[in-house]
C-alpha cells in the first residue's frame, strides 16, 4: 500500500538524522512555563506548567492521556510539545534531539511532520471560506511525497473511513462534525507522524458518533503504531482508550501511571475528588456528601506548597509549606506527602 512505502522511505531518511537516538520518542525534564500578566517586571507571575517530567517510549506506541480541569495547564503543555509556545525552563527531547536546538529550516520542517495536532472544534480547525481539500493537498505537497499527491490524499481518507467524493470540492459546513474531524485526522496522517497531539478531539462531536472516532484512535495506535497524547477533562473516555494517564492540577502533574491503577485505585486526593465528581451514568449511585467549592483560583497558582492544599480534605500545615516530591507507589508516581 502506498503509505507503507512512504513509511519505509521516511525511516531511511530519518536514520541519517537521529544516529544516537535513545529509546525515547518524547522526554521532558522539569518542563516549566511561566506567564507574566501585566508589565514585564511589575506583572504577577502565573506558573502554567510546573516542572513536568514525561517520557514516552518509541518501540511501544501508546495513548497517553493528559487529564485535568480548565486552568490545569494541560493545553499549555500540549502547545509546548507542538512547538507553538516556548517554555521558560527545563528540557524537551524528541527522539533524543533537543527541540530548542533545531535551528535549520529543514530540521524545523522535520519536527512539524513528526508531531501533528488534532484540534477540538473541527469547524474552527478548517478555514470556513476555503474548501476542505485545501489542507489535505497542502500537507501532501509539503510532506515531500514525490508520488502523486491525489493518491496520498485518497489513501489517507480511506484510512479514516471516508471516500473522495464525501470530502473533495466541499466546504467545511457541508460536512458533519464527525466527518470533518476524521478528515482532520486524515490530514495529520499524510506526513506519517509518530506522535499525534489530540486536544479534546471528541468533546464537540455528537455522543452517538464519539465512539467511532475514539475506536479509530485505538486502531491508529495498534495498526499504524502512532503514539497519541489525548488531552481531555472527561476521564470516562480517557479510561476507554488510553494506556497511561497523567492528572494535572494548577500546572503540576499530581498523579502519573497506568490507567488501570490511576483511575481504578486513585491515590492522590485530587484524583479521588475528580473521579467522585464525574456524574456516573448509574441512577443507583448518586453523590453522597456535599463538596467544598473553591472560590480562590488565582491564589492557588502562587502558593508555595501543594497547590491543592486549600481544597484538600487531608491537608496539613506541612502541605502548605513546601512542594511535595514525586513518590513511586503501587506502580504510579504521586506528588503528595502522604506517601
Amino acid at each position: 500500500m502506498l503509505l507503507k512505502r512512504l513509511k519505509m522511505e521516511k525511516t531511511e531518511r530519518i536514520k541519517g538524522f537521529a544516529q544516537h537516538a535513545d529509546g525515547n520518542l518524547l522526554e521532558t525534564k522539569d518542563l516549566t512555563k511561566v506567564f507574566t500578566i501585566g508589565k514585564r517586571l511589575t506583572g504577577s507571575k502565573l506558573v502554567a506548567v510546573n516542572s513536568v517530567n514525561l517520557r514516552m517510549k518509541k518501540e511501544k506506541p501508546e495513548i497517553f492521556t493528559l487529564a485535568g480541569e480548565s486552568g490545569s495547564g494541560k493545553t499549555t503543555l500540549a502547545r509546548i510539545i507542538l512547538g507553538l509556545t516556548e517554555f521558560t525552563s527545563g528540557e524537551m527531547l524528541y527522539k533524543g534531539k533537543d527541540i530548542t536546538k533545531l535551528k535549520s529550516k529543514k530540521e524545523k520542517m522535520w519536527l512539524k511532520r513528526e508531531i501533528q495536532p488534532i484540534f477540538q472544534n473541527p469547524y474552527e480547525a478548517f478555514n470556513p471560506l476555503k474548501k476542505v481539500e485545501n489542507y489535505l493537498f497542502e500537507t501532501a505537497t509539503r510532506s515531500g511525497t514525490n508520488h502523486d499527491k491525489k493518491a496520498a490524499v485518497n489513501d489517507a481518507l480511506n484510512m479514516v473511513g471516508l471516500n473522495q467524493n464525501d470530502v473533495l470540492g466541499k466546504y467545511p459546513h457541508e460536512l458533519s462534525g464527525g466527518q470533518l474531524q476524521r478528515t482532520a485526522i486524515a490530514r495529520a496522517l499524510i506526513t506519517t507522524p509518530d506522535l499525534l497531539i489530540a486536544d479534546e478531539p471528541v468533546s464537540m462531536i455528537d455522543a452517538s458518533l464519539r465512539m467511532s472516532v475514539l475506536n479509530f484512535f485505538k486502531d491508529l495506535k495498534e495498526m499504524k503504531n502512532v503514539s497519541i497524547i489525548y488531552i481531555t477533562h472527561d476521564l470516562a473516555t480517557a479510561y476507554y482508550i488510553s494506556d497511561r494517564i497523567g492528572i494535572m492540577y494548577r500546572g503540576c502533574l499530581v498523579e502519573l501511571g497506568p490507567v488501570e491503577k490511576v483511575l481504578k485505585k486513585p491515590l492522590h486526593p485530587y484524583t479521588k475528588l475528580l473521579l467522585e465528581s464525574i456524574p456516573k451514568t448509574d441512577p443507583e449511585h448518586r453523590w453522597g456528601n456535599e463538596i467544598k467549592m473553591s472560590n480562590l483560583e488565582v491564589k492557588e497558582y502562587g502558593s508555595m506548597g501543594c497547590k491543592f492544599a486549600e481544597r484538600c480534605p487531608l491537608a496539613s500545615e506541612e502541605c502548605r509549606k513546601e512542594a511535595p516530591k514525586d513518590v513511586f507507589v503501587d506502580g504510579r508516581l504521586v506528588k503528595c506527602i502522604l506517601f
Binding site: 480541569e69 480548565s70 458533519s176 464527525g178 466527518q179 455528537d206 455522543a207 452517538s208 458518533l209 464519539r210 465512539m211 467511532s212 475514539l214 475506536n215 477533562h233 472527561d234 476521564l235 470516562a236 473516555t237 479510561y239 476507554y240 483511575l263 481504578k264 475528588l273 475528580l274 473521579l275 467522585e276 465528581s277 464525574i278 456524574p279 456516573k280 451514568t281 448509574d282 441512577p283 443507583e284 448518586r286 453523590w287 456535599e290 463538596i291 467549592m293 473553591s294 472560590n295 483560583e297
Partner: protein
C-alpha cells in the same frame, strides 16, 4: 400528582428565508408530554436534536426566525391554566420569575458586564415588584445568595471579576430569587469543569428540595440526568421518542436509539469495546418520512417508513414512539 406543565402537539420551526432560499428547520416536531409538580424532568438528546429550541418555546422565548406552527403549552397556575404562547405580554410578564424562570445556556456572558451583581438583582426584583425600595430588595438578595452558599462579596463585584462557576451560581440565584414554581435550565453545566459542575448540580437539587418546585433540565450529558432527573425524555430529530423514569431509561430502554445512546456511554472501569450508532443524525430541514431513526435503525421494517410513530404507553410511566419496541427489547440481550 397534578400536571403543572402540559404540552400538546407542539410544533416550532426555524423559518429560514435568506435571499430567496426559503426552508423550514423542524426543530420541534409535534411534542406531547406532561410534567407534574415537584418533579425534576430531564430532556436529553444530542446537539442539533431541538432540545434547546423546545425549552425556549416552553418558556415563550420564541423570536423570529423561530415561529410556533401549532399545538399549545399550559402552565397550571393558581389563576387557572395559561398558555404562555397566547397570553398578552403584560400577563406573561407577571408569570415570569414569579411562576416560571429560566437559566440560560453559556453562563459566561449572561450578566451585564457594566453593572455590579447587586444592580442586576435590583433590576429583576424591581421588574416584578415595583413597590419594594432598593435597600429592602438588596437585603433580600443578599440573604438568598448566602443561603445558596455564595460569598457575600459577590454582590459588589462585576461579572468579569468572577470565575465561570461563580457566574453560573449567580445566574441560578437570580433565577430563583422570587421562588418560581417551574425552573427551565438549558445546559446549565456544559461550560463548567467537573468539580464545579457537581457543585452546580447539588445547588439545583438543594433549591428544588427547598422550594418543592419543578425543574426541567436540558443537557446532552447523560451523567447529569442520572444524578438529578426523576424522569427523562429522550429527544431525537425534533421529537420526544421515549419518556420513562431514570432507572428505566438506563436499565431497560426500549427505543433502539436510546439503547445505542446508553450503550455507547464510556464508564471508568469498563473497557469493553463500544459501538456508535451507524450513520449520522438527519438534518432537521430534510427529515426522512416515517420514523426519523429509520435510516440508522437495525430493526426497521415497512411500517417504520409509513406514518410517524406516536408516543404510546408500554408500561406504567414508560412511553416510547417506536413500532418495533418489543423486538428491540428482546433484541437487546
Amino acid at each position: 400528582m397534578k400536571a403543572i406543565l402540559h404540552i400538546e402537539k407542539l410544533k416550532a420551526y426555524y423559518d429560514v428565508k435568506a435571499f430567496g432560499v426559503d426552508r423550514y428547520v423542524r426543530a420541534v416536531n409535534n411534542v406531547n408530554f406532561d410534567v407534574s409538580e415537584g418533579e425534576i424532568f430531564g430532556i436529553a438528546g444530542e446537539s442539533g436534536c431541538g432540545k434547546s429550541t423546545l425549552i425556549k418555546v416552553l418558556y415563550a422565548l420564541n423570536k423570529p426566525p423561530l415561529t410556533v406552527m401549532g399545538g399549545r403549552v399550559l402552565y397550571n397556575t393558581e389563576g387557572g391554566d395559561k398558555n404562555p404562547l397566547e397570553i398578552g405580554s403584560k400577563e406573561l410578564q407577571k408569570l415570569r420569575w414569579n411562576f416560571v424562570s429560566y437559566i440560560p445556556q453559556g453562563s459566561m456572558s449572561v450578566l451585564n458586564p457594566t453593572i455590579r451583581i447587586k444592580k442586576q438583582f435590583l433590576d429583576v426584583i424591581k421588574a416584578h415588584h415595583k413597590g419594594t425600595d432598593a435597600k429592602e430588595a438588596i437585603k433580600l438578595s443578599e440573604e438568598h445568595v448566602s443561603s445558596l452558599g455564595l460569598p457575600r462579596e459577590v454582590m459588589d463585584s462585576y461579572p468579569h471579576q468572577l470565575s465561570g462557576g461563580m457566574k453560573q451560581r449567580v445566574t441560578i440565584a437570580l433565577a430563583t430569587i422570587l421562588k418560581p414554581r417551574i425552573i427551565f435550565a438549558d445546559e446549565p453545566t456544559t461550560a463548567l469543569d467537573v468539580v464545579v459542575q457537581r457543585g452546580v448540580i447539588q445547588l439545583l437539587k438543594h433549591i428544588q428540595k427547598e422550594l418543592h418546585n419543578t425543574v426541567i433540565i436540558v443537557t446532552h450529558d447523560m451523567g447529569v440526568h442520572a444524578e438529578m432527573a426523576d424522569r427523562i425524555g429522550i429527544m431525537y430529530a425534533g421529537k420526544i421518542i421515549e419518556i420513562a423514569p431514570t432507572r428505566e431509561i438506563f436499565k431497560n430502554a426500549l427505543h433502539p436509539y436510546t439503547q445505542y445512546l446508553i450503550k455507547s456511554l464510556p464508564k471508568v472501569g469498563d473497557k469493553t469495546p463500544k459501538a456508535s450508532a451507524p450513520g449520522a443524525p438527519p438534518s432537521l430541514d430534510s427529515l426522512p418520512n416515517g420514523c426519523s431513526f429509520n435510516p440508522r435503525c437495525p430493526y426497521a421494517k415497512e411500517d417504520c417508513y409509513g406514518s410517524e410513530p406516536e408516543l404510546r404507553k408500554i408500561k406504567a410511566q414508560h412511553l416510547v414512539a417506536c413500532c418495533v419496541a418489543e423486538e428491540a427489547k428482546n433484541g437487546k440481550n
